[in-house]
Symmetry: C2
């Protein structure tokens, strides 16, 4: 279960003051809560590519070299997508007879060769991109929703989202898809992988009528409440079918809360610094809950440094499959953590585009580069760290610290407010260890072909497969590729 | 159980990432967690005076008129203290045959007439003031610890605190006192009131040897772990004695975490703005847990707007006693909240010294005055809002908003980052309601005689009662009273 832009601080169990997530809190109480779980990138597409490949975006190609340390993703005009050379989790699970379904946002490219059913999934209900809009279908086509190979309509036309009220019933549709898929696989006695990638907490935030106005937190909270309710229904479904003890469930988010959209359409990363788009903790530390009655004991808290990439490796391990050995896999197998409460030493690398911005080893985090966004953008009101300014940390230029990394102790200082003095023994000791780990990492690093460099309006979702049946085909403009501009 | 400078974000159950408070978290899981519980003042002495009198500091005299909106407390040179005209909770509980004990910090004045045993307590083990030091006993005497009427030694001399390592066994002493007192009352079959006002999380922060270095969070975390362990022991003691179902336990803190002392000696108020000394949420919203097996159902969360002053009224109610009717009592009886899960409408007033800075009604909070501290202090590095700057909110001058209060919605915006537009319908509606409540409040307000205006070095703890037996009497200087200076 992958949340979209949901922050660490959005769940009751993680201290959200309104405490409106009784189902997620119960899931946590019945399972294992991770306090130190990370995404692989502070932005949606690369994070999702990493989850499904077990590899850093710099390896699987989900980054840009158009400029230094820039976040990039897959808008409609992107030419690239997930390369055929990448092996996705569902491709491997097929070997063990799993049926694989993605419900919700794909975000690994929307052109024909990137279709999820070409990369291991058997079923799809959802959209290739974010639900931005509404568009005019002239300059920009409205985004399609797919059922399996073909589109079945477009957002704002066949699948309404009321931008004014925030009303949309998409989470209900995604819930129904999940329940139905689980029920069918249970009936067929088939093992299954459900990738439930809903997006109600990504701006434009939405909730269905029943949930509108039910939260203390406004529309964003309404969306969270609906998701919480849906998660409760999915877990109850597993229990009612008697397959909860055979089903490993994991919930996390693709990146930190989008503070630029707060407070009405953005969540909370409290107590962490900044949010989505940044390599501070608020951009990359995620809520994460593992649930598997009978296997994962109730009421556990793990401080394991975890990553969305571990879900690739762990899922393979739990399915009795081996991981690929012809390539670097960054994810580790968390089964000893989940099943025996062990802790495994490992670093966390914080990338932004083509740059390793920071690294965490134990409780220390060293920043080699800092920036939130440019002064130009900041002056326009784009603020990834609203209300938070840490001198020398939340910089508006790309500040290089490679010679003297900025060091924090995330135990004493989870908010990255107090850089450790360079002359201290703590600094000297920690940095030595960190530098040696970074050196090892960089020596073995072979970046993949960057996929997010080229844009072209001709590749937009003008005429997705199935459009002809619906009379929803639009005429693309002539191809005029350009180097995509990634401002932050 | 009153914590000292412990913040909302310091407990696992409130989202502290290290989650090192298993006993407090269990207490919460077995009882009721309050998400919206407030102190009466962002500083120690007034907060404690309010807890024990059920009245705002502006009524019970725990404020200063030496300057506008200044925080004041009871350092050694203070002349004032709790007036005889105030009726304290233990005085009333005596009528129902309760035995009353204070363990730890009193802080309502240290001169003879303010002694806790003159204000309803039967026993005392602890100190009248904060454990600052060590002092030279010439310019400033080291602070005394009392057992009942007499001093039994001084901090740093007879009760060591190692400022360098943070080692001190005081929490263990305070724990032993609590366990012993509870056991004795149980044996005597007497009803009791234990006011366990420990201070390990107030700078200089300390922990006993066994707990030093055990936290991810440094010394502050060590102190929290020791307190957590102690709370666990006290609750277990009640259960072992078979009196848990006859004992109402409440844990809260006197004010928000002291961010000026963070990260080594200060806690966390995340996700709230600023900390101790301020009337932002970080200064006044407190962790609060009610525990009473068999009476308060497990696993409850209450959004009741609560106050430390309610502990006065609620305790009286639970003891079957009435509240005084010859004076205004600001605390309300929370028994319907605790026992029947009800919610009671009531405003929260945020005072700083002689000024009502802000008021909360429902989810809206209006600031009539803002300031954190002066530019002069801020320039010296005294920062009550480190890393947090909200334009027009965290002001360094006393900014008046009485004509156009700054309005926040604490549900959508618990961090007080996004003032609501004055021209919005939401603003107009909320402000009207708030202004009428404020008007009512101010119409009935009769400020008490301010107790924190006069200082005099002659009144310091030179020769507390009992000093002669210990040969610990010091010679006071001649009396030279002055108007105390309260810089923030």
């Amino acid at each position: 279960m992958l949340m979209d832009d949901m922050g660490w601080g959005d769940l009751g169990v993680y201290g959200q003051p309104a405490r409106e997530t009784p189902n997620l809190d119960r899931m946590a109480a019945e399972g294992m809560v991770f306090t130190d779980f990370y995404t692989a990138n502070p932005l949606c597409s690369p994070s999702r590519a990493s989850l499904l490949t077990g590899r850093l975006p710099i390896r699987n190609g989900f980054y840009t070299t158009n400029a230094h340390a820039r976040n990039a993703y897959t808008p409609q005009e992107i030419v690239g997508g997930i390369p055929d050379s990448e092996i996705l989790l569902p491709e491997l699970l097929k070997k063990a007879n799993y049926v694989n379904k993605i419900v919700g946002k794909w975000h690994l490219g929307h052109r024909a060769q990137y279709h999820p059913l070409r990369h291991g999934f058997d079923e799809w209900f959802g959209s290739p991109n974010c639900h931005f809009g509404p568009y005019d279908n002239k300059e920009t086509p409205n985004l399609p929703l797919y059922r399996n190979m073909d589109m079945i309509g477009r957002y704002y036309e066949d699948f309404p989202i009321d931008i004014k009220t925030g009303e949309a019933n998409l989470t209900q549709l995604y819930l129904k898809e999940a329940l139905n898929f689980i029920g069918r696989q249970h009936n067929d006695d088939r093992p299954f992988f459900l990738y439930w990638a809903i997006d109600a907490t990504h701006a434009p935030v939405y909730a269905s009528k029943k949930f509108l106005g039910t939260s203390q937190r406004g529309l964003y909270g309404d969306a969270v409440r609906e998701i919480d309710d849906s998660v409760g229904q999915i877990l109850a479904h597993l229990q009612n079918l008697g397959i909860a003890e055979k089903t490993f469930v994991f919930l996390t988010s693709d990146n930190g809360a989008a503070l630029i959209s707060a407070p009405n359409e953005g969540g909370s990363n409290a107590p962490f610094l900044c949010g989505k788009q940044t390599t501070f903790e608020g951009g990359m530390r995620e809520p994460a809950i593992a649930w598997w009655p009978g296997h994962i004991s109730a009421g556990q808290v793990s401080h394991q440094l975890g990553s969305v990439m571990d879900l690739f490796t762990t899922s393979l391990s739990l399915a009795g499959l081996g991981r690929p050995h012809d390539r670097e896999i960054d994810g580790i197998d968390l089964s000893p953590v989940l099943l025996q409460g062990k802790t495994i030493d490992r670093p966390v690398f914080y990338y932004r585009g083509n740059e390793m911005m920071a690294v965490r080893v134990g409780l220390h985090k060293a920043h080699f580069w800092t920036w939130s966004n440019s002064w130009e953008e900041f002056a326009q009101g784009i603020d990834f760290c609203p209300g938070q300014t840490i001198s020398g940390v939340t910089t508006h230029v790309q500040q290089e610290h490679t010679m003297l990394p900025l060091l924090f102790h995330l135990g004493r200082d989870p908010g990255e407010k107090y850089p450790i003095r360079v002359t201290s023994a703590e600094y000297q000791g920690a940095i030595q260890q960190i530098l040696s780990i970074v050196q090892q990492h960089q020596k073995r690093m072979v970046p993949g072909e960057p996929q997010l460099n080229v844009c072209d309006r001709a590749v937009m979702n003008w005429s997705p497969p199935g459009c002809e049946k619906l009379n929803k085909c639009l005429t693309p403009p002539a191809s005029k590729p350009w180097k995509c501009s990634w401002p932050h």
